[in-house]
Symmetry: C2
Subunit: 264 residues, 2 copies
DNA sequence: GCTGCGGTTTCCGCTGAGTGGAAGGCGGGC
DNA sequence: GCCCGCCTTCCACTCAGCGGAAACCGCAGC
């Protein structure tokens, strides 16, 4: 690990998590492993810039400026903004949960969750992560991810949440093939016994899967198959506004021809 | 301005705006005023940390990690999370716009906007800012802000958006007094001729105004007075979940002394 | 009151990390 | 071909970042 100022700054920021949304200076110092003095200076510089704020108890928390900045993230609020009307549609239909997630590393990151009052319990939180094999959106994202990632997840340990969690590699492999064939997934009681989710892929302008949309409803109260057209319609709508050729009816020749990432 | 690495880093990040959500290295260098080489190094360090990403054209954009981090901001997503169900209620009632904003500096910063398909046009964008005197939420926030801020806005130049914008200091002062008396505001055609907004204050655990909620509807299609109970009910609901004594009916002696939306 | 404790802030001399000019590479337009 | 804009690597100088030491502050317990 480098010891540049930049990396130290990010280390300081990384000490914030959903379990520690606000911290004292000493906590930051301990968690980051930086000497107190150093943490003090860095924190103050972040404070000057508005990246951090202090609450009335003197504890540090993520500042509003950082939140405004992050609102510019194309894969964050940008995507969410475009998808929102369709998410609303999904929410309206069940008044339970409508969710939008993207792939990052080996996790599904949740961009949005609209939930009804008294809806069934979910672990999801906006800005939070869940493993790919245990969630509807995760399975969809994994099914369309790089072969490499798929194999690594299939091979790796698969945490079991309930007795319905797909925890076997080969079973998972078949599951992913089914998802590619069907264009949706029903993930029933895989993360909590009380709920199931129906998810479908959202395509971006490069016609690759950019996100996944899902609904989560209580197990036993819905025939999940009736929710499939709803989710697929929402997914198609989102793909369309993202400019996906396959969803807008454009011929393949109009595809954008851009190269994948250039890792330096 | 200091020239610390930290401040340079933040300067780099500050070059991103909603007009420039993705930039080339040279653009960042020019806009930040940093030598190309320096910008290059800083940008790469931000890239390593996941604060920035590169898109398929090699342009830099705000990274997903930064967005996840910002989701921890108590005054950002934290507040939004608690307010969301009530915002949904407001949205349901008109299917136009439901908005949530907080005060920062001399601006209203919008935390959330739920909008119907085909709703009337608004300038609002999530993560964006608008001046206090021209918006419903802004007037509410200003009416309950420090005396100092109020006077500074009253004195300062008041940008006129339409002929209905409150652009006179004394008129604004009276307006603010009315808002404190009534507990809501109807801001009609003040920012665009086509729309009006109804807004009310949301109280935090310290019984000070923490945010403002509003709806925006097309001018002429609604009697704004009929929307007042709706907005006030939503505002009260939000105040309650934030733990505001005045909204929960608790005696002052039971006041919580810490912020409600970080209930450690 | 005094004492200890946990957290915060200021001070300051040493030094290696950050700096940025120079130069080379890449690609696209004419 | 040539030029131009953008990106990347290299490297020697020096000043900004570093962090130990010590003071400071508020509070709880004796």
């Amino acid at each position: 690990m480098t010891a540049s100022v930049s990396s130290r700054l990010l280390t300081v920021l990384r000490t914030f998590s959903h379990r520690t949304p606000s911290q004292t200076l000493s906590e930051i110092s301990r968690r980051s492993g930086l000497p107190l003095t150093t943490a003090h200076r860095l924190v103050h510089e972040l404070l000057q810039g508005g990246a951090l704020e202090r609450d009335e108890d003197g504890r540090y928390r993520i500042g509003l400026w950082l939140w405004e900045l992050a609102a510019l993230a194309p894969r964050g609020l940008g995507l969410r903004e475009l998808a929102m009307p369709f998410l609303e549609d999904v929410f309206e239909a069940t008044r339970q949960h409508a969710q939008l997630a993207v792939l990052d590393g080996a996790d599904a990151v949740f961009l949005e969750r609209i939930s009804g009052r008294g809806a069934v319990h979910v672990f999801t939180r906006v800005g939070g992560r869940l493993p790919l094999h245990a969630t509807g959106v995760g399975l969809v994202l994994l099914a369309h991810a790089d072969r490499e990632l798929q194999e690594s997840v299939i091979a790796g340990p698969l945490q079991r949440f309930t007795r319905h969690t797909v925890a076997d590699g080969e079973q998972l492999r078949r599951r992913l093939a089914d998802i590619r064939r069907d264009g949706y997934v029903i993930s029933s009681r895989a993360i909590e016994e009380i709920s199931l989710s129906v998810a479908a892929p959202v395509y971006g302008a490069d016609d690759r899967v950019a996100a996944a949309v899902s609904t989560v409803v209580p197990y036993g109260q819905y025939d999940p198959l009736t929710l499939v057209p709803l989710i697929r319609a929402a997914a198609r709508g989102m793909s369309r506004v993202l400019g996906a050729p396959s969803a807008s009816g454009l011929p393949k020749s109009v595809r954008r021809t851009s190269l994948p990432w250039q890792p330096n």
